[in-house]
């Protein structure tokens, strides 16, 4: 276990260096004057900025220094867990990310809960009764679910539930009613995906030899289905759902745009368009680390579920 953690930390470090280096490099190659962009983002339009302000920003934020210097300087601070101050918002980057991520996390978690609540029964029934009408319905729903552009779905939901039925708020953040539509929008693709994986995992498990052996030994159907098939089928689902964290984050960008949900996706959009360097670095670092963490958790759960997996 300790080895696994150490390995993960080493991998995370590599990912972190690489990811931040890429981001830095990308911004260096980007056309335009960084200081001017910051000034515009911080103080309004082009008309609100004069040359002196630009020079001042350039000097204050160290943008006149060479690329590697800036990069190393930043790395040095990160070691002591200081992500710096947002250039545009002039607030600590960590605080911005933290508050926004908490909201995205809420949304993501409810989306996953919805996805599991729907996907698990459909997937299991579909897998066990392969070929039945329920199965084909499940399969159809699943394939439509992955094909549905989620921004479109979001709009349809808004028109239906907010404008026509006036049941749910169009946008905002607060109680559970704000959560319903974004969570469904975000969860649809996940639901479809999980259903599909679970179904095929169950079918695959059903074809394995040990099921015949279990039945031949006289184990009751309830036990076979509820214990053996389910736990075996869960293994691929866990890995896939875990690794599809990226999918959730992508979905979050769009969902948050449609529902004005103030999460990390929204922050990402604004940070990129403001050229808020420290914020983008912080976000990249944060996303990559969350990604590594999720991978690690998936690994742990996977190892817990599947004893065959050894450290390799």
């Amino acid at each position: 276990m300790l080895n696994l953690i150490l390995k993960r930390i080493a991998a995370a470090f590599f990912v972190f260096i690489g990811a931040t280096f890429f981001t830095y490099g990308m911004m260096m190659f980007a056309p335009g004057d960084a200081a001017l962009e910051i000034a515009i983002a911080r103080y309004g339009g082009h008309d609100r900025v004069d040359g002196a302000t630009i020079e001042w920003i350039k000097k204050k934020e160290g943008l006149d220094k060479p690329f590697l210097y800036q990069y190393c300087h930043w790395l040095k601070r990160v070691v002591v867990l200081d992500l710096g101050i947002s250039l545009v918002r002039e607030e600590p980057v960590w605080q911005l990310i933290y508050t926004r991520f908490a909201r995205t996390f809420e949304l993501a978690l409810s989306a996953i809960v919805i996805a599991l609540l729907i996907a698990v029964p459909i997937g299991i029934l579909g897998g066990v009764k392969q070929g039945s009408w329920m199965d084909s319905m499940g399969v159809t729903i699943a394939v439509i679910g992955v094909s549905m552009p989620n921004y479109w779905l979001g709009l349809v939901l808004i028109i239906l539930f907010s404008v026509k039925l006036k049941l749910l708020p169009v946008f905002g953040y607060g109680d559970w009613r704000h959560m319903v539509m974004p969570a469904i929008t975000l969860g649809t693709a996940l639901t479809a995906y999980t259903t599909r994986i679970l179904r095929s995992a169950i079918i695959e498990t059903l074809q394995s030899d040990y099921l015949i052996a279990l039945r031949a030994r006289g184990i009751s159907n309830r036990l076979v289905l509820g214990k053996h098939i389910l736990k075996n089928a869960l293994i691929p689902v866990v890995t896939v759902v875990g690794l599809e964290f990226g999918m959730i984050l992508e979905g979050a960008v769009i969902t948050e745009t449609v529902f004005a949900w103030p999460g990390i996706g929204d922050l990402m959009v604004t940070a990129v368009s403001d050229r808020d360097y420290p914020l983008i670095q912080g976000l990249v670092l944060f996303t990559a680390m969350v990604f590594v963490l999720i991978n690690f958790l998936v690994d742990v759960v996977y190892r817990y579920l599947d004893p065959r997996i050894r450290l390799s």
């Binding site: 309004g44 302000t53 918002r89 607030e91 907010s162 905002g172 745009t257």
Partner: protein, 517 residues
């Protein structure tokens, strides 16, 4: 055992995410309003000195400035009682008495000094380079309890206008990192960053008790989102309503649309240092070929803009009333082009000048949604008189300006606020003077340079108006920019909202008069 542990951990995670600190209704109470607006603070305690926070706090009626612009864009003392221009460098300002901060302390000269000082002091945490750039204050001195003198580094005729800048909102010295005490009609109750601002009534407001008990300012950047929320009845007012949906609202019972032109100008930067538009005749031809009325009607549903002749809108006192907008005249445009030597030699419908096809690179940026259709429409209009165009939409405005500086762009469509502080100098000296930061057109006019310089130090308002009238005339004739229209602000509101008014400078929103039937 292990399974149990995992179960509890999952349960904990689930519970921690389902407990919310506050719940918000989406139908408002009798003396409350819910307003949907596009922008809002990204932190919980927005200090007005930082970034855009001043705008948000000003709009929310939390902070107020020493001077304001009234709805006709005239300068008016607000927290100040009166002012005196002792010398070109020294201003004496007398404060209103009896104004209370939200912590119920009285606003006096030392409080104002403290409040302004922290913005202009480079060592301060909230030092604002831009505001100090505007005000350029050397010292602030307290003369007595209600009188201050400001000394500037250079003579600045726009000084009082600059004091309307929302960043200079006066706050109580008792303000700290957790609480901001302003003087406005509303007390900041809560900010959920990028989600909403909640303000409640300040009973001791110096102009009298505000009529609304509480206002929710809900933030949604996307106009469609605000529109849908309004249609769904979840907000009482939707600021910046999509123009094309306005007609539908007007047909509806119980709701209405209000709109008013603002300082925001939609115009083309014209590259005149080189390229085909260096020729005034071609410039003029383009000018005549653009049907401004059609653009406003098509893109902004006829209510989202007001066709203008000058860079300054009619609502601004500085507007040169003698200028009349160019009217759509394709024949005259063709005539001018022929005069300039343009002819379609190869019969492809595109004119050529000196053997080279008349092709204009027209760029705009994405941030303002209405620019793109304007561009597409202009493309069609220019095509009719035989000018080919190549469009590009960049993410931000600045790449266009760079490209124009290099001569790669001939026309850059922009939408700028031409008088942020209500004063004309800023726009003119930043764009049209020979060495202005934003002079991407390569425009040079010595008369204009001299006038702009003079305008900065002319303290007599009447003389100043003459100067700027002349400048507008020069711009109108030489066309370094092609003015299209001034954007109007459109808001949708239900009929139970009373005393809602749109301010041309987009700086003010909540007032103590605003109420609900």
């Amino acid at each position: 055992m292990k399974q149990k542990l995992i179960f509890y951990v999952l349960l904990l995670i689930f519970l921690s995410t389902t407990t919310y600190t506050d719940s918000v209704c989406f139908a408002s109470e009798p003396d409350e309003l819910i307003i949907a607006k596009p922008f809002g603070p990204s932190v919980e305690v927005p200090d007005p000195a930082k970034g855009y926070n001043g705008w948000y706090m000003n709009e929310a009626g939390v902070t107020e400035t020493l001077f304001v612009l009234d709805f006709d864009m005239n300068l008016k003392p607000w927290l100040a009682e009166s002012f005196k221009n002792i010398s070109p460098l020294i201003w004496e300002i007398k404060l209103k008495q009896g104004v209370r901060f939200h912590d119920n302390t009285l606003m006096d000269a030392s409080a104002v000094k403290w409040s302004v000082n922290r913005i202009i002091d480079e060592k301060s945490k909230v030092f604002n380079k831009r505001i100090q750039g505007l005000l350029n204050i050397k010292t602030i001195a307290v003369k007595n309890d209600y009188t201050l003198t400001f000394e500037t580094h250079k003579p600045n005729a726009a000084f009082l206008y600059d004091l309307t800048s929302p960043g200079t909102g006066i706050i109580s010295p008792m303000s700290n990192e957790r609480k901001i005490y302003g003087t406005g009609p509303f007390i900041l109750e809560k900010v959920v960053p990028k989600v909403k601002m909640i303000v409640r009534r300040f009973d001791n407001y110096w102009m009298g008790k505000p009529k609304l008990a509480r206002v929710y300012l809900n933030i949604a950047r996307n106009p469609t989102t605000r529109m849908l929320a309004f249609e769904g009845g979840q907000v009482d007012v939707a600021v910046n309503f999509p123009e094309n949906d306005a007609k539908r609202i007007n047909l509806r019972k119980g709701a209405k649309i209000v709109h008013k032109p603002t300082n925001r100008l939609c115009f083309f930067f014209v590259r005149i240092a080189d390229g085909p538009l260096a020729d005034i005749r071609v410039r003029m031809a383009v000018n005549y070929a653009i049907d401004r009325k059609q653009i406003v009607d098509a893109v902004l549903a006829g209510i989202g803009g007001e066709v203008s002749a000058s860079v300054f809108p009619k609502i601004l006192p500085w507007n040169n009333r003698n200028l009349q907008p160019y009217l759509y005249n394709p024949d005259k445009a063709s005539e001018l082009l022929t005069e300039a030597g343009a002819k379609d030699n190869n019969g492809d419908g595109i004119l050529e000048i000196n053997g080279r096809p008349l092709l204009l690179n027209i760029w705009t940026y994405e941030e303002r949604a209405s620019l793109k259709p304007v561009l597409e429409l202009v493309q069609m209009q220019l095509q009719k008189i035989g000018i080919a165009t190549k469009l590009k939409v960049t993410r931000k405005g600045s790449p266009i300006n760079y490209a124009m500086k290099k001569g790669e762009v001939h026309l850059g469509l922009q939408m700028w606020n031409v008088a942020l502080q209500g004063d004309p100098d800023y726009f003119i000296s930043n764009i049209f003077t020979s060495n202005a930061v934003a002079n991407f057109m390569g425009y040079r006019n010595q008369e204009l340079d001299a006038l702009a310089k003079k305008g900065k130090i002319t303290f007599d308002q009447k003389k100043r108006k003459e100067i700027y009238d002349r400048i507008q005339e020069i711009i109108f004739n030489e066309l370094p920019v092609i003015v299209l229209f001034h954007k109007s602000m459109v808001s949708a509101l239900y009929n139970h909202v009373e005393n809602y008014e749109i301010h041309p400078s987009e700086k003010y929103l909540l007032t103590s008069r605003l109420c609900r039937k």
